[in-house]
Symmetry: D2
Subunit: 223 residues, 4 copies
C-alpha cells in the first residue's frame, strides 16, 4: 500500500501519534469483536455530524484550489460525501435501528467540535496545503485502518461491514486520488525541496494536531 | 414559466435593471445573427474564467447551508459546474478553434472581476440568503433568456447552439431546482412575511447589484 | 448590573448552563483561595493562546458589520485585545514567573481548540448575529463573574488581581459597549419581535453551545 | 525613499503598470491644478466607500497572521483606518460640502467594486502573502505618490491638502511599518531565495492586478 510520498513523509515525522490513532483501543475492540454496541452507536451518531462538517471542509478545498484539476477532485469529493456517503450512513444507521431523526437530533460532543472546527477554521484561514494537511489524517488514516484490519472478520456484522467499507477497492481508490492530489499540490507549490520550507513545518504541525484530534474522537466513542 | 415566488418578487422589484440585462443588445444581436464573431469569442473566453469563480461561489453555498437538503443541491451544482459544464465549455471552444491553453491563458477583464469577486466576497461575508440573492441573476437569468430566445433560430450554428443550451429541458430543470432551493431557504429563515424584514431589503440590494454587474458583463463582450 | 436586553434574554433561556459556567468550581476555589496554583497557571497559559484566537474572531466582526458604528466598536475591540490586553497578560505572567517564550511554546489543549475554533468557524460561516452570540458568553460572562466575586478578597494576590480586573470600571465599560452593540445589531436586523424569528432560535443555540464550551474550559484548567 | 526590498522587487517587475498608476492623468491634473472639481468629488465619494472595504480587507490580515507581531501591526492599521482615517475623510468632505449622509448614500461604481472585492476575496481565499501583495499597491503607492507630488503646490486648497496628507511624516511612517511587515512576512515564509518560489510568482500576479485595478479607479474618477 502506498498513499504517495508527501503523506508518507508527514506520517513518518509524526509516527507515534499516528500509531496512537490508527491502532487505537477502539479499533482493537472492534476488530476483535469486543467493542460494546453502545460505543459503536456513539461513534456512528457522532460520525454523522462529523460528515456534515467534513463535507463543508472539502468545499473549502474547491475554493482554495489553484487550478482546474484540483477543483475537479475536490468538487467530486464534496459531491460523493454529501450525495452518496451520507445517504449510505443514514441507510446503515436505519438498518441498525437509529432513525434519521435520531441522527439529526444529536448534539455534537466537544471532541467532535474540536476536530471539525479545527479543520474548517484552518480551511478558511489557511491555504490549500494547510487544508490538505488537516484533511489527510481522516481520509488516508481510514484507508490505512481498513487495510490493517482487512483480515479480521468479527462476527458482529456491523463491525465486519465497517472494516470492509474502508478496505474496499472503492475506498482505496478514493485514497489514491486524494494522495495524488496531495503530492501534486505540495510539489507544485513548494518544489522538490519541499521539506526545507516554512510551509512544510506548518503542514507537519497541522497534520500532527489533526491526528491527535482523531485520537480524541476515538476516546470520545469509548467513553 | 415560473422560477418560484421569491425570484419573481426580487425580479419585479428591480424590473428595469432586470430587463436591461435579459434584453441586452448583445442578446438582440446574437438572436438576430448580427453579433460579431469576435464579440462572441470575447464572451466565451471571459465566460470560461467566470465559470471557475462561479463554481467557487457555489462551493460557499455548501458551507453556508443550514441543512442536508440545502447542502445536497449546492454540492451537486458545484460538481455539475466543475466536472461537466466546464468540460462542455472547453469542448465547445475547441470546436470553435479556441484551445484549452488559449482559454486558460486569458486575463480576466475588470468587468468579469467586478462581478465574480462581488459574488464570492458576499458568499464569504454574507449568509446563505445573501449568497443566493447574488447567484440568482446568473442562473435564473440565463434560463429566462433561453426561453425568451427559444424561437429565434440564428443561422450561425454557435449562436443557435447557445440559445438551445439555455432553453433546453436540462437547463430549465436546473433553474427549477435552484428556484425551489431559493424559495425554501427564504421561507425557512424569514417566514411568510419575509418581505417585511431587513434581510429582504438586503437581498434586493444584492440581487439588483448582481443584475447590474451582469449588464456590464454583456457591455464588456460588445466592446 | 445590566448588559442589555438581548443578552438578558439569551441568558434567561439558557440559565442552567449559564450558572454552570459563571458559578463554576474553578471560580469558587479562586474566590475562596483554595485553587491550586498549578490550575491557575494552566488557565493563564491556555488563556494566552485563547486570546490570540479570540482577537481573530473579533476581527471577523469587522468583516461582518453592516455599518460604520458596528465596524468602529469591533475594530477598537480587536485593537484593545491585541495591542493592550495581550501585553497585560504577558506582563502579568512574567510577574508570576511564566516567560513570554513559555507562553508561546505551549500547545493548545483540545478544550481550548474546541471553543476558539467553534467561535471562529462560526464567525466565518455565520453572520454578525451568529458571531455576536458566540462572543457574548466570554465577554459578558467575565463581566458578570467579576461583579459576582467583587466582594471576595482572596489572600493570593494573583486571584485578587484577577477578580479586580474583571470587576473594574474599565472592564465593565467594555461590557456595556458590547452589550449595546449586541442590542443594536439584533434590533436592526430582526426588529422588535426578534424572539419570534428563525435567527433568534439559532442565536440561542449558539449562545448555549459557547456557554458549554466555557464550562469545559474551566474543567480543563482544574484537570 | 525606500519601502523595503520586497516592495521594490514587486514594483520593478511590474514597472510599466506601476507608472501608469502612480503617474496617472488624474494625478497630473491634480498637481497642476487643472483637475475638475467634479472629478475630485467623484473620487472622494468613491474613496469613502473604498475605505470601508479596505478596512475590512486589513481585518483579514489579522486573521491570516502567523504571529503576534503581524497581528499587532494589522490590528492597529484596521483601528487607524476605521476610527481615525474615516473620520478625517468624513470631516474633510463635510468641509467641502459633502455631508456624511451624502457619502453613505452613494452607490459603489463598478471599478470600485472590482478593486475592493478583488482584494477582499483574495484575503479570504488566499494567505497572508497573497493579501499583502494585494494591499501593497494602495498603501505604498499613495506614499510614493505623496512624495512624487510633494513640491507641487496647487492653488486649490483641496488638492494641496490631499498631497500634503500623503507626503506627511505620519503617512510615510505608516508606509515604513507596512513595508517592514511585508519584508518580514515574505522572508519568514519564503526564505531568502523567495524570488525562486511559486508563491513569489503568485505575489507578482496579484500585485500587478491590484495595480491595474488602481489605474481603473483613477479612470473612473476622470469619467
Amino acid at each position: 500500500m502506498s498513499y504517495g510520498k508527501i503523506f508518507l513523509n508527514l506520517k513518518q515525522t509524526n509516527l507515534s501519534n499516528w500509531l496512537q490513532y490508527t491502532q487505537h483501543e477502539f479499533l482493537k475492540q472492534l476488530s476483535q469483536d469486543t467493542l460494546k454496541k453502545d460505543c459503536f452507536f456513539n461513534y456512528l451518531k457522532q460520525d454523522y455530524l462529523f460528515l456534515i462538517q467534513f463535507s463543508k471542509a472539502w468545499s473549502l478545498a474547491v475554493l482554495k484550489s489553484d487550478n482546474l484539476d484540483e477543483m475537479k477532485i475536490s468538487a467530486s469529493t464534496v459531491n460523493d460525501l454529501i450525495n452518496f456517503e451520507m445517504q449510505l450512513h443514514i441507510d446503515l444507521c436505519e438498518e441498525y435501528g437509529i432513525s434519521k431523526t435520531n441522527l439529526e437530533g444529536n448534539d455534537e460532543k466537544n471532541e467532535n467540535i474540536a476536530y471539525t472546527r479545527y479543520v474548517l477554521e484552518l480551511g478558511y484561514s489557511g491555504d490549500f496545503l494547510d487544508l490538505l494537511s488537516a484533511l489527510a489524517p481522516c481520509v488516508l488514516g481510514y484507508g490505512e485502518i481498513g487495510l490493517n484490519l482487512k483480515n479480521f472478520k468479527p462476527d458482529n456484522p456491523m463491525y465486519k461491514k465497517w472494516i470492509e467499507t474502508y478496505a474496499s477497492i472503492e475506498y482505496q481508490d478514493v485514497c489514491k486520488n486524494v494522495a495524488q492530489l496531495i503530492d501534486n499540490a505540495f510539489l507544485l507549490r513548494l518544489g522538490k525541496n519541499y521539506n526545507d520550507t516554512y510551509k512544510w513545518m506548518q503542514a507537519n504541525k497541522i497534520f500532527n494536531k489533526a491526528t491527535l484530534l482523531e485520537v480524541d474522537f476515538w476516546n470520545m466513542a469509548l467513553k
